[in-house]
Symmetry: C4
Subunit: 276 residues, 4 copies
């Protein structure tokens, strides 16, 4: 485990509120989904309803968040990305299409990275961090991220604190399924085997994990999908998670980008080789 | 999000109790299911046991509901549909066979719509609304619904309030899996991977979502399947959901058809293009 | 729904405790399972540990139960079946191999029925009732059951009270997944997607359903698998379910065979055609 | 059921804390997983974070545990295995690669056993017990384990107390999915259908089963995966399970090897033929 390191202002741990703005892209990425408006409407909910409600909630609690956006979704919903930027939040890279890098050949992966950057630039976003669709990196991904001049990756589950990707300047901000809303809430007509959990049940698991991370001085990288957490019945859970974090003086609440730069500057994070 | 709009009689939100009367059709739609009386008996429970109990419960609480019925089930159980109509409930279109429109070719989809209307007409029902099997619209569905003279669709998940399908007179009454009993209760020998939830667990999730919708002035489109909610152990949940709604003076309880016409007349719903 | 009918001794509802003694047969039925002692050990637990504990529990509460036994399991574990008979419990037919009748061709299904009867006869059992493996009847099953002289079937989910299979003397004793322990507890290395529930969670769902059935004057056909309910952590649930039923003077606790004969004699059950 | 037998020092039951140190091997065993650093990072968490935390916890409660280690993981993480040995814990055999013996041909299975022993020997471990990957024995496994001079197997679910494999000197220490953390916690992007349970929910099921085993004088073979139980939010569950066991004077807490040798020496365990 990366050695314990100080967090700012005497904080004992850190928390990021991050949102993967997949919108319709997650359904349009395959041809069949693109032809099914019923299924796609789950994603269309994001720009139409969920995002404004989440931005209002973040503003009310004065929290600055990070939104990872696929390039094609930025092209489809430029006003959504602009509203995120206008509210002062960070926008990160989340692929161009929503396809796992591990499923792409080398040329495709390079093209995806470039196309996503270009699409985000066109709506005024200059990402410094990369989160892969499905967190599913290929063995080339970190090298490509470094070559593109990005400063951090938020994709791996092998630590609870930031570390440095060996041989690069890329900081890793570790994630985990436990702090992602998808395992609890992802449900469509096509994955009917799933158990659709209540916000109360999901909140219990998330609370266990963030309490454990706080006790160990770790980073709680909360990952939400506006189409999931933005449902009327789940927004109170998001609000409670935000309010708890803000009210706790020992928790540093910051964007992913701010955490990456702090770690780089102040924590002297150990380099690690993840592709061996 | 469609702008907040007034609900009748000073109500702050609306609730529909809707039932998809799939009966045996959901099992007979494929040839293998048709030859398995054990599996089909799940659907036969509907007309034999569930429907009379649900009609009695609705009558006791003086609630008028909407039943979406596949044409072939109306042919198989005409007395069931007649008992629904005799009790003053609305009957809507739910396909002819229980096949997803997105899985049909254009001719088949058109035939399904016409055959369902004809079968419902033969038992005395004149639907004004359409709910697709599996809520799984094709890109042609809304146009066909409009051409058939139907007035509303209840299939999409991209809003929490009624909206108008652009270029048509069709009002959309949004739905969501969270307010459907199937994700909690659907269980047969063939989907054994599923987690069979208690009525208490399902009620917790449904309560979260309808409270959230009420707080935002939305429409809670509750969707039940008599073969699921009509089990003896689940009827108390249905009764509690009905009693809660009826007892709350800020909730307008109405049929889907009544909500669609109210929205059209009084809410000036924004037109939206869902197939792009 | 079959009309309400009196239960004996002024009881308002009835409960059967039934056990499907699948043992290793449920794993040996396919060739791959037969070659995997690790998987099969789940079934071997039944005769070695679960059955004696369950028989002791039933005796302590003076409850007579029904055990449905596949013929091949009776051949493999004759002493287990003999201990069931010696304790005064009913033994019913549960196929010869543990294969769904709906998956068999007509000759195979007939052979299964005859072979199961013969195997049970060799250990001294004379079944009067039939429960199909997986409750998965073919369209021929009821006719074959009638032709074999069996008096009841316990396989269908289309009612909550006994009924008569039209054109036969066969009484149906309805079942449901909600009252089966398998949806909560079935778990092997090969169905790893499942959610393994606690006894407390399963008990909550079962309690909801049996309370609902009691309120409606129905039959609670509790269905257990000794390899599941016989685990040390689940036996207290079985004991609670038994103790609750025995302590309630309005519940008639009886074997499936006794319920079938009572219904035939005293309830004038409506005939129903289940294969149309 | 194996007859009740005395446990040491007047204890009424026994508990082992065992850990399957699968690490990256469980992901690297197939070629696709090996090329996906995102997925593999779940396993890399084990040596980097989970193991040191678990070793600290065991030391604080003065519990000696058993770690089953695949040979290839020992080659990849020799320092991890050395830290386990240095802390005085037992190291057992867990295959060489993480492949089910039931899926191997005879030569492969023999090679796996030898290669695993050799790899463990190179890091200083001399296993006396064998736990198969996925507990999925072939029909040859027990014979091979006996021939390799190993003293116990911990793989089968057909009893709740130790027994002797007939015709060998190999003691079986029975296991069960209920006492394994994987059914509650295993979750990756590739088995997204699963229900991710809270530590509280998992603890409830585990508590039910170990209470039942204690009441029957059985052996609670708790099986953990450091990549699962070692998450910050789950370590408090592990600590509670350890603290409960240690605080209960009627529970004998021991390594698997110690339980096997005690059973052999003092319990005169009944021989049983598991492959028939």
């Amino acid at each position: 485990m990366t050695a314990a390191a100080p967090w700012p202002e005497g904080c004992a741990s850190a928390t990021c509120f991050t949102f993967d703005l997949d919108g319709e892209e997650v359904w349009r990425v395959d041809e069949e989904g693109a032809r099914r408006p019923g299924v796609r409407s789950l994603g269309a909910y994001e720009a139409a309803v969920a995002l404004p409600l989440i931005l209002e909630l973040l503003e009310r609690h004065r929290v600055t968040a990070t939104f990872f956006v696929p390039g094609r979704e930025a092209e489809r919903q430029p006003a959504a990305v602009e509203s995120i930027l206008a509210a002062g939040h960070e926008v990160g890279h989340h692929g161009h299409t929503h396809r796992s890098p591990a499923s792409l050949d080398p040329d495709e992966e390079e093209d995806e990275l470039a196309a996503g950057l270009a699409a985000l630039a066109r709506v005024g976003a200059t990402p410094t961090g990369y989160r892969a669709p499905n967190w599913d990196l290929s063995e080339r991904s970190v090298g490509l991220v470094a070559a593109a001049g990005l400063r951090y990756s938020s994709n791996l589950m092998n630590d609870i604190r930031p570390f440095l990707h060996a041989g690069t300047e890329v900081i890793e901000l570790p994630v985990h399924w436990l702090l992602d809303d998808a395992p609890y809430f992802w449900f469509s007509g096509d994955n009917f085997e799933r158990c659709l959990r209540s916000a109360a049940e999901a909140g219990q698991v998330i609370d266990e994990e963030r309490a454990g991370l706080a006790a160990l001085g770790g980073l709680a990288m909360l990952t939400f999908h506006p189409q999931l957490i933005g449902r009327p019945g789940r927004l109170p859970l998001l609000e409670r998670l935000i309010a708890d974090a803000v009210a706790d003086p020992t928790v540093w609440v910051a964007t992913a980008g701010a955490v990456a730069e702090f770690a780089r500057r102040e924590q002297d994070p150990a380099p690690r080789e993840v592709v061996v």
